[in-house]
């Protein structure tokens, strides 16, 4: 692992809801350009961790740093502007808008003036051309005018990634990008993810149940269990760790 300053760091994050401890003193950091896979059994707190990092929910205690800056108290949109992008476990799109309009909205934010009432989105503007480029990048250019709601599962995931790219994030959180995707579509999606990481040197965190996908893609793997990080190491080291094996597969007396 590299020794430069982590671009994203979670320090001693805990979340308690009612009496239940959902996350328990989680510390995890990612260096610039690194791809980190987060795995663990259902209910281990992976999505919760992503929700805390992106600001959807606030932690009970602990700090989140982006580029060394404390963003724990910043709102979702402020973190997004600071370069933190994410996707959701279930596709989260504007279903009534076309694929192009979805991406264009995201591109507008990056280009500025997204709330202007004096400017109309049109075929020739910057945001549109950026949006078309991003659609092309994920292989959806032919679906530019299709309503997001009627795209296939796999294409919806790709569209989400295109929206993400349009905001030009430094750090990307992918929450189960393969969930619900037909197996035939998996390799294509893997290539898209590889491209946004390797191609652009972005930092990526991803939760995924497809272990072979994770192992083939990431630099390091973090294993979560019962709201804690059990191990964080290279894929080989993690998979050889007996504690991980027990946690992941469950042990029944």
């Amino acid at each position: 692992m590299t020794d430069n300053q982590p671009v994203l760091a979670a320090e001693h994050l805990s979340l308690q809801i009612g009496g239940a401890r959902i996350l328990d003193d989680v510390s995890l950091s990612v260096s610039a350009g690194e791809m980190l896979g987060v795995i663990g059994p259902n209910g281990a707190g992976k999505t919760t961790l992503f929700n805390l990092i992106s600001g959807v929910i606030a932690p009970t205690s602990g700090t989140i740093r982006l580029d060394g800056r404390d963003v724990t108290n910043e709102q979702i949109h402020a973190r997004a502007r600071a370069g933190l992008g994410r996707t959701f476990q279930t596709s989260s799109l504007f279903n009534g808008l076309s694929a192009l309009e979805n991406v264009r909205l995201a591109a507008q934010v990056e280009l500025g003036g997204s709330l202007s009432i004096l400017r109309f989105p049109h075929r020739g503007d910057r945001a549109t051309s950026v949006a078309l480029e991003r659609l092309d990048e994920v292989g959806l250019a032919h679906h530019a005018d299709t309503d997001a709601g009627v795209l296939s599962h796999g294409d919806k995931r790709k569209l989400e990634i295109a929206m993400l790219l349009a905001t030009d994030p430094k750090v990307i959180l992918l929450d189960e990008p393969m969930a619900g995707v037909a197996s035939g579509d998996v390799p294509g999606l893997v290539e898209v993810i590889r491209g946004l990481h390797k191609g652009a040197g972005r930092t990526v965190l991803m939760v995924e149940h497809h272990i072979e996908v994770i192992l083939g893609l990431v630099d390091t793997v973090a294993v979560m269990h019962h709201g804690q990080v059990l191990a964080h190491d290279t894929p080989d080291a993690v998979m050889a760790n007996p504690a991980v094996q027990n946690a992941y597969l469950g042990d029944v007396a």
Partner: protein
């Protein structure tokens, strides 16, 4: 082989307008525990909810009990449950502002509830019967959720990830209770923990991309590392190591 207790034909289900299950077809045998498996997000929970009518669904779902066949897809949830189908939801879903006793009382469908059976199975619940369910630990809530289903005499049990997020010691307790219940009633079980599946399941159904990709005896599936890796995304080696642990 006798008729299956539940036949699902071309089931599709939607949540908030989004397709989550597409054209799923399978049978649940009238005896034993059938494990419904697949990676996260393939729609196992939605399949169960679709069978119960908890979400918008299409397709044929036929329930065979006592020699007659009933089309569940034409019934509303409470009618389906009244046919003798017990349900243990994912994430337990106990009523947190009701006491343990009230949770159980609410679930009683007949004039002859099996209170002793549940009390024997989960002595902890008896001791806490006046406690609000919301103050129970995760494991205790799971037992309450199971207790709610087992307090009635059912012809079929639908159990959704009963060990999710539970500590190992509790997992074995829950598994033991399920094993006890399964002696008298067929079970359709969604479960991520392959050890629990190995311990309980007789048959298996694997869903992938919203469709069934494999059916067969559970033992056969669990011993095939290649299938496990392909269908469940679990690393083969680890399965072997875990299985012998």
């Amino acid at each position: 082989m006798s008729d299956p207790i539940l036949s699902v034909r071309g089931l599709s289900a939607r949540i908030a307008g989004q397709q989550v299950v597409e054209d799923v077809t399978f049978d649940v045998p009238a005896t034993g525990v059938t494990a419904l498996l697949g990676r996260n997000g393939v729609g196992k929970t939605s399949t169960i909810k679709g069978v119960l009518g908890l979400i918008e669904r299409r397709g044929e779902v036929t329930f065979r009990a006592g020699g007659s066949a009933v089309r569940l897809d034409r019934l509303r949830t409470h009618r389906i449950v009244q046919l003798g189908i017990g349900y243990v939801p994912e994430d337990r879903e106990v009523f947190s502002k009701l006491t343990v006793a009230e949770n159980l009382r609410l679930a009683e469908r007949s004039s002859d509830p099996r209170r002793e059976f549940v009390a024997e199975l989960f002595p902890d619940l008896v001791a806490r019967s006046n406690q609000l369910a919301g103050t129970l630990s995760g494991g205790q809530q799971q037992m309450l959720s199971l207790g709610r289903a087992l307090i009635n005499t059912n012809t079929l049990l639908l159990v959704d990830e009963p060990t999710k997020g539970l500590a190992p010691i509790i997992v074995s307790e829950v598994a033991a209770a399920l094993a006890e219940a399964a002696k008298t009633v067929p079970v359709l079980l969604v479960e991520q923990n392959l050890q629990v599946v190995r311990q309980l399941a007789t048959d298996s159904i694997v869903i992938e991309g919203g469709r069934v990709v494999h059916t067969g005896p559970a033992a056969q599936l669990l011993d095939d590392e290649d299938m496990i890796r392909r269908f469940l995304g679990v690393h083969g080696e680890t399965t072997g190591a875990g299985a012998t642990a």
